[in-house]
Subunit: 337 residues, 2 copies
């Protein structure tokens, strides 16, 4: 039986414990390399393939840790979140590992495949109007009526600790393959759960290892927050990288402010081009959010990267193959169908 | 220095030698599993991921073996083939491993990405009119003028031996993972190089292991040839699986007739659905030809497969991401762009 610990910011030890806790439930995802992309980047890239993670994204790590950390009493009543993205699927999965209920508040205009995925993992869906107010009020109603526990997608220390296990695993895998740790790790930044967990692990194990957060230019709240030293929420995000549209949380920002070395941004066409390069050269499917750090590497957004060993976290692979960003660029068929 | 051996049909020993010969140049591709696809197939599937092979397809194996088997005298003058597909890229790569020239005769209407890939691997392109007659006469002219050696994409015993190394590697990998060999191996059938090499390996190592060739219904010359006992050429193939449109060769058919247990066929919509399932659930990119044996498994075309351990060779991952078969099925945008 697990008990809820004090809500302290995770450290290396907490993240190691989280890893031991979630390990039986998650995949140890592979690290891939690609000479063609190395040549483009002018660096040696190590891709941590969380697109192969359960649920198709790293989110399974944090959600699983958070669910396993709940007391029996709380867990028995179930968990809730509002999302139609990777965290919703991950929380549904995590709840199924523990045999508890996951209530997912989903906007009524969510794409059918996303809804099907959540249901497929056993999540119980409550639809609401597609506004933030409706999502929050519907979630609050479920919390009041069913006394279910809210698991926030990133502004939660147990979630952050779970996401940190990805970097822990990457560093372990690189150590198995060769002696030297990487010089840098690049991670996408949405709410900041992944990059903050990554930074805690990286700086604890190798203080000289640089951690770079990568954002779309159209949703650059982390860059602006880091620069100004205070949390600036993201309003009106404009990016294809649907996983990176949210604002930082105060818990993730506290870590980003202190431990992340830099935040760089990339343009939309660079995200699509990077995604295409990974699909075409590596033959793996990544979603636009995952392509953001790849774009930062391929389009030379990071100073001092030349010739270095660079870990890149490919955060997820959930795309709608019927609606890809490539097809608009080069139509071959003349007539519409 | 290698010398040309007698042109005998490969056996297990020849294929083991081929494997040792090509091993320094090719990838040992991973074997992946997927519970979601297992559930659909009602069997335990082991996917041999030749989509991750150099050049994006198993063809690198056969081409490399054939090039390395040439005498110094022949190799010095270079090699030639006519193709715009995976063999052309593979032969260009194989020639580069030995530091010799590869001349590739390409129809003038070949898609630009395929031409770029061949050039990227160092192939020297000669364009010709898009007819079989023009391709053959252009190839003959190059053979006469430059005294270059023709390496056929499949009707060549050294190529067949090279393709057989894929099954050898798969069986080796499964043995490392668990004690039992698979009960069946499924491979796509185009010219028959892959399935014939596979059958020689499988039947030599485990006579009870079934080898099933999988074909599109619209290019089912292997099924008809196997059934009638004589080689029936494929005329007017109609399939999205562009790697499987060719006729068998007499060398590959001789093996297929004797050693392949059965040939099954799948429909076009089944190929597209299988390709979608692999993309969406496994997050890897496979080309339509690779989806043919997957379709045979998922749509229950093979009797006696229930509950069995089944190896599936994912032959390649070269697709044009701008022109995918999915996008037509479920348009979301109302207006044309």
């Amino acid at each position: 039986m697990t008990t809820v610990q004090l809500d302290a910011r995770p450290d290396l030890e907490t993240i190691r414990e989280a890893y031991a806790r979630i390990r039986p439930h998650i995949h140890r995802t592979p690290v891939m390399t690609c000479r063609a992309l190395d040549a483009m980047a002018g660096a040696q890239l190590f891709f941590k393939c969380e697109n192969f993670q359960k649920g198709g994204a790293f989110k399974a790590r944090g959600a699983t840790n958070a669910v396993l950390m709940l007391s029996e009493e709380i867990a028995r009543r179930g968990v809730v979140t509002h999302s139609s993205g990777n965290h919703a699927a991950a929380l549904s999965l995590a709840a199924s590992f523990r045999g508890i209920k996951a209530y997912i508040v989903v906007p009524s205009n969510a794409p059918a495949p996303k809804v099907a995925a959540i249901k497929g993992y056993g999540g119980r869906i409550t639809f609401c109007e597609p506004t933030l107010a409706a999502r929050e009020s519907t979630t609050a109603r479920l919390m009041a009526e069913k006394e279910v526990y809210l698991i926030h997608p990133y502004n939660n220390h147990h979630v952050m600790a779970g996401q940190g296990t990805c970097a822990l695993e990457l560093l372990e895998q690189l150590q198995e393959g060769s002696a030297a740790p990487p010089d840098m790790i690049l991670a996408p930044v949405g709410g900041g759960g992944l990059v903050s967990g990554t930074a805690i692990v990286a700086k604890s194990l190798h203080p000289q290892l640089k951690v770079i957060g990568c954002e779309p230019h159209g949703a650059d709240d982390a860059r602006r927050s880091k620069k100004s030293g205070k949390l600036i929420p993201q309003t009106n995000p404009k990016t294809i990288a649907d996983g990176l549209r949210s604002s930082l949380g105060e818990k993730t920002f506290a870590v980003i402010r202190e431990l992340v070395d830099d935040i760089v941004t990339v343009e939309e066409d660079e995200i699509v081009a990077a995604m295409r390069h990974v699909w075409e050269r590596m033959k793996i499917i990544i979603e636009p959010s995952s392509a953001v750090p790849v774009a930062a590497a391929l389009f030379h957004k990071i100073s001092g990267m030349a010739g270095k060993r660079v870990g890149i976290i490919l955060s997820g692979g959930n795309v709608d193959v019927d609606h890809l960003p490539f097809k608009i660029s080069k139509p071959r068929r003349k007539a519409k169908r």
